[in-house]
């Protein structure tokens, strides 16, 4: 069993996000990048599968600041091979990210065959599409998203994947392998790895590099950011005043406007 996990770094929203001069993009100099949350869950799901069934895990990431830390952490947690794609055009979009992943998967020896390709279902910066379905389409593999649990069938030819639906309902799907799954959450929260293990991985593990090729047509359909602004918290609530029934009425109006009924 070979599980390929695709990892993408996303802006860390704990730190303040700054808008670049021109007002159309984030200021990359001020950004801190962190492994996209659902990608971290995809890695965890792979590790759980490895523990249960035995598997080789390859973590493939796109180069970004702090990506090495993420890959060494993945190795310390149990990824067997770690690789990053380098030399992408700056400011690539998610659809371009998916194509960089697909290229590397096709070009680099040993990434295929993979029985399962796991990646986060959605990242906070996926403005022009999602990675998982594009990679799946490119590889002609089946795709399922919003997955919160995976179990291998005895034959290892198929997996049972749990997908979340609204209202707490879940669906159990039988998925023929190889397949691409967009992980919403692993069965357990991502594990803690002692920092000493990560530091040891930094000394013993080598991150392989895969050179990105120029994307063939270069031009994806236009999605142009016209303006970006920070959604500043007001700092203080807007106060509603009056008797309990009056303020309750006012508040209901506000909730209704926001479609909360």
């Amino acid at each position: 069993m070979h599980i390929l996990v695709l990892l993408k770094m996303a802006p860390d929203v704990v730190e303040d996000l700054e808008i670049a001069p021109g007002g159309k993009a984030l200021d990359l100099d001020c950004l801190r990048m962190i492994l996209s949350e659902s990608d971290d869950h995809a890695l965890e799901q792979a590790l759980l599968l490895k523990e249960r069934h035995g598997a080789k895990i390859t973590a493939l990431a796109l180069d970004a600041p702090e990506v090495d830390d993420a890959l060494f952490t993945a190795a310390a947690k149990g990824a067997d091979r770690v690789m990053k794609v380098v030399g992408m055009d700056p400011g690539f979009t998610t659809r371009e990210a998916a194509r960089y992943f697909s290229q590397a998967i096709a070009e680099e020896p040993g990434l295929l065959p993979a029985d399962l390709i796991l990646t986060g279902v959605q990242a906070i910066d996926d403005l022009d599409g999602l990675v998982a379905p594009i990679v799946a389409d490119g590889l002609r593999m089946p795709y399922l998203g919003i997955v919160t649990g995976v179990a291998l069938e005895a034959s290892a030819q198929a997996a049972r994947a749990i997908k979340e639906y609204p209202a707490g309902v879940r669906g159990e799907f039988l998925v023929q392998l190889p397949a691409v799954l967009g992980i919403q959450a692993a069965e357990k929260p991502p594990r803690y790895v002692p920092v000493a293990k990560v530091r040891a991985a930094m000394k013993s593990v080598k991150i392989e590099c895969s050179q990105a090729l120029t994307l063939a047509d270069g031009g994806l359909p236009l999605v142009g950011v016209v303006e970006m602004k920070r959604n500043e918290p007001a700092g203080h609530a807007e106060m509603l005043e009056g008797k309990p029934d009056q303020v309750s009425g006012q508040l209901c109006g506000i909730l209704a406007e926001r479609g909360l009924f």
Partner: protein, 333 residues
């Protein structure tokens, strides 16, 4: 469909979903702005009769195929892409839900069309299709132009739930329905085996869209039913801050904050919670925070969007009544 605004209608377990109505309401506005018809696209199997619920649209394109009985993204995307072949709608609005996620991306890839995720609002200005997107976990609002009018179309726009009120897109009437024939290959690669209904155990707070949180201002365990009634009216669950859990009024699984759960519901109503940093750590990312506290200086008001200075115990029944009244009025409208 060429030039039209289209909405992908979601049906799940025999019903059109609420988010579909919200998306239709938004689609209706955009179509009217652009002066073009609104078309709903309904993929499914033996569910033509659902088209009459899509009365907010001017027309419905119904795609019938046995493989569309359950929403499998690649199959559904292929069907929609085939139905659109040769047509050039201006935009296709796809609800961003657990049911439809990924379909928009796949249609975009198959049609070579632009995709814009995370849309909270859409408008047509000077012939340009502009989307307001909530990005980076709500920290950034971006205005995005989705494809030039002459570019490859349609623009595929993923619409957040809550973009409009569902009521505004709910209209039951006979709508002209066109059938679109599609050819889909049954690879059997992905098959739904069964639905798993939520277990009867305690609720998972992190999955609730509405949370009614109580703090020490609840004063007494006997007042807990007031919070439960409000939560029921709002369609959510009751949770609490540490002191309430410590008193044993609510189980540990209902605790929000540093030592409890981190939640991000659409609506968080904090009742009688002063807002210690340990509590705020667990709920500050809720989309809408309403706080009721008798102390006007309570720190909770600095993270809340709306605040009411008042006694939580007095406010709860009033709020429940107002919500019930509003819901009743909505149903009769």
């Amino acid at each position: 469909m060429t030039g039209n605004i289209c909405v992908l209608a979601e049906q799940w377990r025999g019903q059109i979903t609420e988010v579909t109505y919200e998306t239709l309401a938004l689609g209706r506005e955009v179509a009217d702005q652009a002066g073009v018809p609104l078309t709903a696209i309904l993929p499914g199997s033996h569910c033509r009769e659902l088209a009459r619920f899509l009365g907010a649209a001017d027309a419905v394109v119904y795609i019938d195929h046995p493989l569309l009985a359950e929403t499998v993204p690649q199959t559904c995307a292929e069907a929609v892409a085939q139905a659109m072949a040769g047509e050039r709608p201006r935009a296709l609005l796809v609800p961003l839900t657990n049911i439809s996620l990924g379909i928009g991306t796949l249609i975009g890839v198959r049609l070579g069309a632009p995709v814009v995720n995370f849309c909270r609002d859409i408008r047509v200005a000077d012939g340009r299709l502009l989307a307001d997107c909530v990005m980076y976990g709500g920290k950034i609002e971006a205005t995005v132009e989705a494809g030039a009018p002459s570019g490859p179309g349609p623009a595929i726009l993923g619409i957040w739930p809550g973009a409009r009120q569902a009521e505004k897109g709910r209209a039951e009437r006979e709508v002209p329905v066109t059938d679109a024939a599609v050819v889909l290959e049954d690879t059997g690669a992905i098959r739904l085996c069964r639905y798993i209904e939520p277990e009867a155990g305690d609720v998972d707070l992190t999955k609730q869209e509405v949370l009614v949180a109580v703090g020490r201002g609840l004063q007494d365990r006997a007042n807990l039913p007031l919070a439960e009634e409000l939560a029921r009216a709002l369609g959510g669950a009751v949770c609490g801050s540490r002191p309430v859990i410590d008193q044993g009024w609510l189980p540990l699984s209902r605790q929000v904050g540093k030592s409890g759960l981190t939640v991000k519901p659409k609506l968080y109503v904090a009742l009688g919670i002063s807002g210690a940093p340990e509590h705020i750590e667990g709920m500050k990312d809720a989309a809408l925070i309403v706080a009721v506290n008798s102390d006007p200086q309570a720190p909770i008001f600095s993270v809340a969007h709306y605040g009411i200075v008042g006694d939580a115990v007095e406010t709860m029944p009033a709020l429940t009544a107002a919500v019930e009244a509003r819901k009743a009025a909505g149903q009769h409208a």
